[in-house]
């Protein structure tokens, strides 16, 4: 398999996001449809059931740098959330405490990250963590 | 003078004989463009998936007089984009009848056509057209009966 270059990889992800081919529990799209560099993206995660996140919709901001997908994107919650891998002051997902970013592989994509974050919200130790008021932002 | 022959290395060369219709009805080897229009390797070399040229990686001649490595054209016709058309002239690609070079491949290409037809029928079935599938299956059964005389399988055919 050859290496799909960054921009064509992002175009594939964009198309998948636009056509809604991914799972229903998360979505993502370009923050600015004029951004020819396709750097900044918006993401959403639907809180997993049977947890304190149930029925909540979390917004995130994803930044795919020039080294993506060789390097993971930087990802930040906009909606306030209490989760061990998220910086409580800035909303930044910290790579050292979130395995998907720490052990990043080129085959991973934005959907992988959003789905794994959703799994993180549903782990036995995280699902009952007290959460900030719904709708508040970092 | 006495000569001792210690060893003999035999060397031979071969090329595909590609018949081509001329306007005056005579046959002549194809001379204008002797590379496969798909992989751009010589007719006498192999397609990109094969190591050894010859019968394992043979050449086929289309009804439209365009020639390709059998593996190249098969892979193309197996894509949905191809719509069964020749890459060069966009006419429906059919193997030319009555050529020794094509004979061993006729079966394989007939199967491919049927497969395509069945998958098209399958798409129709999504729109509740069960008749289309029934028709395709009937055609397939018919073809199987027709073909029982001359089943030549090419095990070496590489399909991705």
């Amino acid at each position: 398999m050859s290496k799909v270059p960054r921009n064509f990889r992002l175009l594939e992800e964009l198309e998948k996001g636009e056509k809604g081919l991914g799972p229903e529990s998360c979505s993502y799209g370009l923050a600015d449809s004029d951004d020819i560099s396709m750097t900044t993206w918006n993401g959403t995660i639907l809180g997993p059931p049977h947890s304190n996140h149930e029925n909540r919709i979390y917004s995130l901001s994803i930044e795919c740098g020039p080294q993506y997908p060789d390097q993971p994107p930087s990802i930040k919650f906009i909606s306030k959330i209490n989760l061990p891998c998220v910086d409580p002051n800035t909303g930044q997902v910290t790579p050292s405490t979130f395995h998907t970013l720490r052990d990043w592989k080129r085959a991973y994509n934005m959907e992988t990250i959003l789905l794994d974050l959703r799994k993180e919200m549903a782990t036995p130790s995280n699902k009952k963590l007290p959460q900030p008021e719904e709708g508040s932002t970092f | 003078m006495k000569v001792d022959v210690e060893e003999v290395h035999s060397v031979f060369a071969w090329t595909w004989h590609i018949p081509k219709d001329n306007k005056d009805g005579s046959l002549q080897a194809d001379d204008d463009d002797d590379v496969c229009g798909i992989c751009r390797a010589s007719y006498n070399a192999t397609c990109p998936s094969c190591k050894y040229p010859g019968d394992e990686c043979s050449l086929v001649v289309g009804e439209c007089n365009h020639n390709f490595h059998v593996h190249c054209i098969y892979r193309w016709l197996d894509t949905t984009t191809s719509k069964g058309l020749c890459p060069m002239c966009r006419q429906l690609f059919q193997l030319k009848r009555g050529l020794a070079i094509n004979d061993s491949q006729l079966e394989k290409f007939r199967e491919l056509q049927l497969k395509k037809r069945t998958s098209v029928a399958g798409e129709f079935a999504d729109e509740d057209d069960e008749e289309a599938i029934a028709r395709a299956v009937a055609q397939q059964n018919q073809a199987e009966v027709d073909d029982q005389g001359d089943v030549i399988m090419d095990q070496g055919l590489v399909v991705r």
């Binding site: 398999m1 050859s2 290496k3 799909v4 270059p5 921009n7 064509f8 175009l11 964009l14 370009l30 449809s33 004029d34 951004d35 020819i36 396709m38 | 229009g37 798909i38 992989c39 751009r40 390797a41 990109p48 190249c72 892979r75 193309w76 894509t79 984009t81 058309l85 890459p87 060069m88 966009r90 991705r160």
Partner: protein, 151 residues
Amino acid sequence: MASLPKRIIKETERLASDPVPGIGAEPHEDNLRYFAVTIEGPKESPYEDGIFELELYLPDDYPMEAPKVRFLTRIYHPNIDRLGRICLDVLKNNWSPALQIRTVLLSIQALLASPNPNDPLANDVAEDWIKNEELAISKAREWTTLYAEKK
């Protein structure tokens, strides 16, 4: 990485030794399937004063699958969207493995010479084009000066 198919090597060599006038295509050193492309705007088109940058990638299935091509320079054209994606039949349904990198790039150059607002990708641009062609052409000229490299 798997070795590069002969056909790609041949095409690359020929693009360098026998380049198409007004078109440049060079593979990136670290990915020989990924090309940096430049296309000069065709004469007597609103793009004539500019040189446009594009990127081209040959997917694993090439030549059974069309190359992927995108404009990196912003361009005002009814068949090219804001992200530089191109609406061109030979890149999609009308691809044929008999086509090559050079023929694809020539088709794109031809698309610059004759925009087709009836088969649009950039909907708003196509609308402008149909409503007031003269105005659209002057805007295309303006964008060429703004974003494309000067010839």
